[in-house]
Symmetry: C2
Subunit: 390 residues, 2 copies
């Protein structure tokens, strides 16, 4: 693949390129380029939304370039300096490194490991003095930072913005300097931060990175962008049968986007299938995605199980969990089993009629369950869990 | 003097006290208090405007408390991080220490040296890491900092505010933590910064300092506050005859303020003199001030000289300067002699008819002067300089 071909394909798929000239020249230089992607330091659970950009990185790897992931552990290890957020607990050094390793394991489902590097920004930000910070801050203005969408909105609404928050975009930008990034990629919602990197590199005497932004994948709800916290995601680490079922739930109107952004199936092909039979198209998509992340055999099993559940039967082999014998309120059984992430989510799930116990829908979260014999819990259509007690 | 008396006098003279309760409790505690005043790291030229607050500090010293001056050398040694200001050249460590010494020499014209301490904020700010900066920034919000008058005005007018500038009030505030300040004093235009110190101390677990603000002294122009850059000042280090002449130029309407804020003469007395004879009141004021800073003898000489000049004569003993023999354009002679601070100021002075050479007004800055015999230069009414050549 020559530079021109790489350029054409990225130009076709990217939302924006800053600037096309810069990007073209870098590709043409014949140099092995450093492609930067910023990563969150908290425990990663990558989903198909992330895969959109990761697949482009894979493409750039195939064109001969190196990927560097920057784990933003510097702020992660500080937590919330204002002390207002109780959820932003500071991470320890060990947690950060462990999360980094897990991140590497997940991204190398898509990327070539030998061309993928993980670095931690505490390595350089942690060494900066107050002088260095002032000098970094001197490169930009308050108005410029307040332009960022979320700041602008909060400022206009008189919502409080901690002064420390103004420094975050600058740190991310300085990361580009630290790794001498040639290209930075990200979702289109990251444009502001990525361009800041470009400017700060100039200020530090570096050639500015080219910035490539790619579309955001809408979530399964068809409204918000895919995100773990909104529970509208398909995780790339999820079990094949869960993944399959979720793929079948992609809204019809979005199936084309999902095909285009997350699968290898060419547009001519998936468009034709979608026109002929939208339900069959869902199966094709689900099989393609599960095959991509778990292989063909798992995909076949996922399909079989999906059909069995759809036909109203119990799947052949539900997940299993073991709990101590005893009396439980139903909501506690559900949260202890891991079928819900918290007691309050379990209560809500039950109240909304989303839980079946031994094939009977239960609506009372406080129902007492005297647990000793195995129980089959079912959440929604496809999540089965066999509970055993000892 | 007991705590109650100190409190009453400060309450009479201060513009604001934050809070009166805190201040009263601190005085009543019987503890020797640390009174903070922030100082500029550039070469100091203290004037009567500064003396307003310094005289209050002297009063607090007499009541048994210690004064700590914080020289803001940390930012002074950095210069302008944005690189936009060509005038804010970074100071060296040696310059800062020298300026600090000169500062000490000047303030001890008013203060007791043994109860006066000078410290440099680079000692603590220079040791702060990026973590520490974030944690400091986390104590406040963007909106809070933008409330400061000058920021609010600039932001509203879309004038650019460097992000580093937002950190300056925080540094000054952190200085209060570093010296465990009990009281901070300042001009009424400093209220925002002083209160920020109060808040930040609370955040760092200290008892918040009491803040006392005092009136700003209007300059000789009767419009702006007294300031060196506006050339409307009476410097406390100026020669007696210059000081005397400037005191005579205080606008009639402001003479009461000058008496009250900068002299030891009680109100009943100066008010009576002003009512009887405003010109005599000026003489009384000028003599009082020159006596304060140069002693009674110098004051008498200053008065004699003033009368001589006013009568059109040459003063008996002008200042002297020595320059190398040679040909000079007139403007260069004036600037080399120190009678003007720069070539362009010298040119302007001459063009505007402000310069007499050997009692003849000269209007051509480029007039060639073949200098070998002594020359008497006169700037304005009262500034005489005898130039000699060798």
């Amino acid at each position: 693949m020559n530079a021109q071909e790489v350029f054409d394909i990225i130009r076709r798929d990217a939302i924006e390129i800053y600037s096309e000239d810069d990007f073209y020249k870098k590709l043409k230089s014949g140099k092995k380029l450093t492609v930067k992607l910023g990563a969150d330091p908290s425990r990663p659970d990558l989903h198909l939304g992330h895969s959109v950009v990761l697949r482009k990185l894979r493409f750039l790897q195939e064109a001969g370039h190196d990927i560097v992931f920057i784990i933003g552990d510097f702020t992660g290890m500080i937590g919330d300096p204002s002390g207002k957020s109780k959820t932003r607990v500071p991470l320890t050094f060990e947690q950060v490194r462990q999360n980094g390793k897990s991140y590497f394991d997940q991204v190398t489902k898509i990327l070539e490991p030998e061309k993928t590097k993980i670095v931690y920004n505490s390595e350089w930000l942690g060494k900066m003095s107050f002088d260095d910070v002032l000098s970094l801050c001197g490169k930009t203005t308050v108005a410029r930072i307040l332009e960022r969408d979320d700041f602008a909105g909060r400022y206009a609404k008189n919502q409080s913005i901690g002064l420390h928050e103004m420094l975050y975009p600058l740190m991310q930008a300085y990361d580009s300097v630290a790794v001498s990034s040639d290209i930075e990629v990200g979702g289109s919602d990251q444009t502001f931060n990525l361009l800041m990197g470009r400017n700060i590199q100039k200020d530090y005497g570096q050639e500015p990175q080219a910035v490539l932004t790619f579309p955001l994948l809408p979530g399964l709800d068809g409204v918000e962008k895919m995100s773990k916290s909104l529970d509208n995601y398909i995780g790339i680490d999820e079990p094949p049968e869960v993944m399959f079922e979720k793929c079948m739930r992609v809204p019809d109107t979005l199936l084309g986007d999902y095909f285009r952004l997350t699968s290898d199936i060419p547009p001519q092909k998936f468009e034709q299938i979608m026109q002929e039979d939208i339900r069959r198209a869902h199966f094709v998509y689900a099989k393609a995605i599960v095959t991509l992340y778990h292989g063909a055999e798992a995909a076949a099993q996922g399909e079989a199980r999906y059909n069995a559940v759809a036909a109203g039967g119990t799947p052949q082999k539900p997940s299993e969990a073991v709990l101590p014998k005893g009396d439980y309120p139903l909501w506690k059984l559900v949260s202890d089993s891991g079928l819900a992430v918290s007691g309050s989510e379990a209560r809500r799930l039950i109240k909304e009629g989303g839980l079946l116990m031994d094939n009977v829908r239960q609506n009372d979260p406080n129902l007492t369950v005297c647990a000793s014999e195995p129980i089959l819990l079912r959440r929604g259509k496809a999540k089965f869990l066999k509970l055993m007690f000892e």
